[in-house]
């Protein structure tokens, strides 16, 4: 579904990705761990098409109708319409725009692109109310401005609600566990598990093993200095939890 080949990228003239190779298939969950500043969030932004990041070399290919296509020249919205979703580490507040309006516009933009029927306000409200249950988000949040005045946990749950509504084929969750208390972490993780299926893939970017107790990955990769320095199965995360990253960086 996704193939990253020798990806090198910079931001503000600083090289942050120094040759990433990664292949992800449908149905897989990949965890990406690593110390601060190792390039984890940069990778997520490059995948989503953040304009501040400049790809110097390499390629990112995504399965579109059974054909692997390079997405590096695509705008962020084109990637989103093809099914790439980034759950932000720091979800952006958008004052004056209600959650429900924003979600419906996003949902309908994807439907239009994929040739599916769009939903009117009434249909969409019913649809999204059901999705809200997945992350136990009170429907009142739908009429509030996007992320404005939300607690850290509510913002992260709102990101997973967006994921539930937009139903991406590839979801990149950038430190979705950061700032969450135990209960919120469980709710978010349960939500992600309910959305996990054989047709989609999930990339979990995290610092901590605890998220991986709830969302069990098929693969764990360690990113350091802009490169993947170690890959393994879920036991690698346990080892990192016990021993830290030093043994990999020496």
């Amino acid at each position: 579904m996704l193939s990253i080949e020798n990806l090198k990228a910079k931001v503000n003239d600083k090289e942050v990705l120094k040759g990433i190779d990664l292949k992800i298939k449908a149905g897989e969950v990949h965890a990406i761990m690593g110390p601060n500043g190792s390039g984890k969030s940069s990778l997520s932004k490059v995948l989503a098409g953040h304009p501040a990041y400049e790809v110097e070399s390499g390629d990112v290919k995504f399965d579109v109708n059974f054909e692997m296509k390079s997405i590096l020249d695509w705008e962020p919205e084109e990637r989103a319409r093809e099914g790439i979703f980034l759950a932000f580490q720091y979800p952006i507040e958008v004052p004056g725009v209600s959650n429900i309006t924003f979600l419906r516009l996003a949902f309908n933009a994807i439907c239009r692109h994929q040739g599916a029927s769009e939903m009117n306000e009434e249909e969409f409200r019913k649809f999204v109310a059901k999705k809200s249950e997945i992350v136990k988000l009170n429907p009142d949040f739908l009429d509030r401005a996007v992320n404005e005045g939300f607690s850290g946990g509510e913002k992260k749950r709102n990101e997973i609600l967006q994921m539930a509504v937009l139903n991406p084929r590839l979801a990149v969750l950038d430190e979705t566990d950061s700032g969450l208390d135990i209960d919120s972490l469980r709710i978010v993780a349960e939500g992600v598990n309910r959305l996990r299926n054989k047709n989609n893939a999930i990339v979990l970017i995290t610092h901590y093993q605890r998220l991986l107790d709830y969302i069990v990955p098929d693969f764990v990769h360690v990113l350091a200095g802009g490169k993947i320095v170690k890959s393994g199965d879920k036991t690698l995360a346990h080892k990192l939890e016990k021993e830290g990253y030093d043994w990999l960086l020496q």
């Binding site: 989503a48 098409g49 953040h50 304009p51 501040a52 705008e75 962020p76 919205e77 990637r79 989103a80 319409r81 979703f85 980034l86 932000f88 979800p91 952006i92 958008v94 004052p95 004056g96 725009v97 309006t101 924003f102 516009l105 996003a106 933009a109 994807i110 692109h113 401005a145 967006q162 937009l166």
Partner: protein, 416 residues
């Protein structure tokens, strides 16, 4: 030749010429461009040949309401065309509404341009609300300049009796396929004790439209005035608002939204004078500026010595959505009383690129993202309109105007 140009120039000369660039209410305004616009308007009007049947045939039965981008079901409707006024729908009985044939007006400190426009003006609306009268539906005044050459000037007057209540919309109809004249509208009036007037001006019909309007209101005890100016894209224009809060408890809310694209220029000038204790005023202007358009704002609040415990605030915010877009603001406070609340603020900024990226990462195009953020930016101005009918109308017009605004913006992005 009608001699119109000569008369107008002579008239302007007798008023001392156009206002000088140092005039406090004309600071920063592109006067040279304005002079050219005026000269062209005068010359075009001079050259116009009067039509033998100048008023055409328009009647209550034949007027095509589908030309309007909104439903008139909940409005009483009047049409102003040339020197005629025609009731099109639901004439209310509680008021006197007719042509302002005597061209009644009340100006606070008129300058030479106001004097000239008034001298050239056709009669507009004369609305008189008797004491206690309440207008059930907002009054929609359609301003049709299609018969005008060069310059359409109308002078309206509103007299609100004690405890009366009305909402009035001045809506400039788009000229179909004819040159766009300079449109000047003067709305003035008096609000007697505890009366409530909500009034809106909707304009901006094309990229080449040129417009000047001025509101002057004098308010008595506990009266309430709300003014909203919605500009959907005016080629070159200026709106002036002068409010005198003369007696205790009078309040005024003056607000506006302007969407500017290409080379458009719009200038907003507000002067509110608090002359009595416990008076209240709010200014809230928002503009979204794209292309190489320019927004200007000058807001002045004067709190006089006797206006203790008055409360005033002014806010002007400009959102620039293109590198060459410009906004300038000149907020001023002049406070002579010592027990008052008075604030002013002005900000000019760009859209947050992280917000744009967030929306784009959720499948919205750049244009859709700009549309959504622009709407969010200006919406509070509309939500503060107290008259429900007017609020709904403004919401609907804004919903229609924003896609047009973004469409033009996007087409410029695509042009190398």
């Amino acid at each position: 030749m009608s001699g119109f140009l000569e008369k107008a120039q002579s008239r302007l000369g007798s008023f001392g010429g156009l206002p000088h660039r140092n005039h406090p209410l004309w600071k920063g305004f592109p006067l040279q461009k304005w002079e050219k616009v005026l000269d062209a308007a005068l010359e075009e009007r001079e050259a116009a040949v009067p039509s033998p049947s100048p008023r055409g045939s328009v009647s209550k039965e034949t007027f095509d309401f589908s030309l309007l981008p909104f439903s008139v079901e909940d409005f009483s409707v009047l049409l102003f065309r040339g020197e005629e006024v025609l009731w099109l729908k639901d004439r209310p009985s509680v008021m006197e509404a007719r042509l302002n044939t005597e061209k009644r007006s009340l100006f606070s400190d008129p300058d030479s341009f106001a004097e000239l426009s008034l001298a050239l003006a056709h009669p507009g609306l004369f609305l008189k609300m008797e004491a206690e009268a309440v207008l059930e539906k907002p009054l929609l005044c359609l301003l049709d300049a299609s018969l005008e050459s060069g310059w359409e000037s109308l002078v309206h007057f509103v007299e609100m009796g004690a405890r009366s209540k009305a909402a009035v919309v001045f809506y400039s109809l788009q000229n179909q396929g004819s040159p766009t004249p300079l449109r000047t509208h003067f709305v003035s009036g008096e609000l007697k004790d505890s009366s409530v007037l909500t009034t809106a001006l909707v304009s901006g019909t094309s990229f080449v439209s040129k417009q000047f309007h001025r509101f002057d209101f004098f308010q008595k005890k506990d009266s309430r005035l709300e003014v909203i100016d919605l500009g959907k894209g005016i080629g070159f224009g200026r709106g002036e608002y002068h409010v005198e809060l003369l007696e205790r408890g009078a309040s005024a809310q003056v607000s506006g939204i302007h969407l500017l694209n290409d080379h458009q220029i719009y200038d907003t000038r507000v002067r509110i004078s608090h002359a009595a204790p416990e008076t209240y005023s709010r200014q809230n202007f928002k503009c979204v500026v794209s292309g190489s358009a320019q927004s200007l704002y000058g807001g002045s609040v004067i709190i006089q010595k006797d206006a203790q415990k008055s409360d005033s605030s002014q806010s002007h915010k400009a959102l620039l959505v293109a590198p060459a877009a410009k906004a300038s603001a000149f907020p001023e406070l002049e406070v002579h009383a010592d027990d008052v609340k008075a604030t002013h603020g002005s900000s000019t900024g760009q859209m947050n690129p992280e917000e744009i990226f967030y929306l784009k990462s959720r499948a919205l195009s750049q244009g859709e993202a700009v549309h959504l953020l622009s709407e969010a930016f200006v919406k509070d101005v509309v939500l503060k309109i107290s008259d429900a009918g007017l609020r709904l109308l403004m919401e609907s017009l804004l919903e229609q105007a924003l896609p047009d605004f973004v469409r033009v913006m996007e087409s410029r992005w695509r042009t190398p």
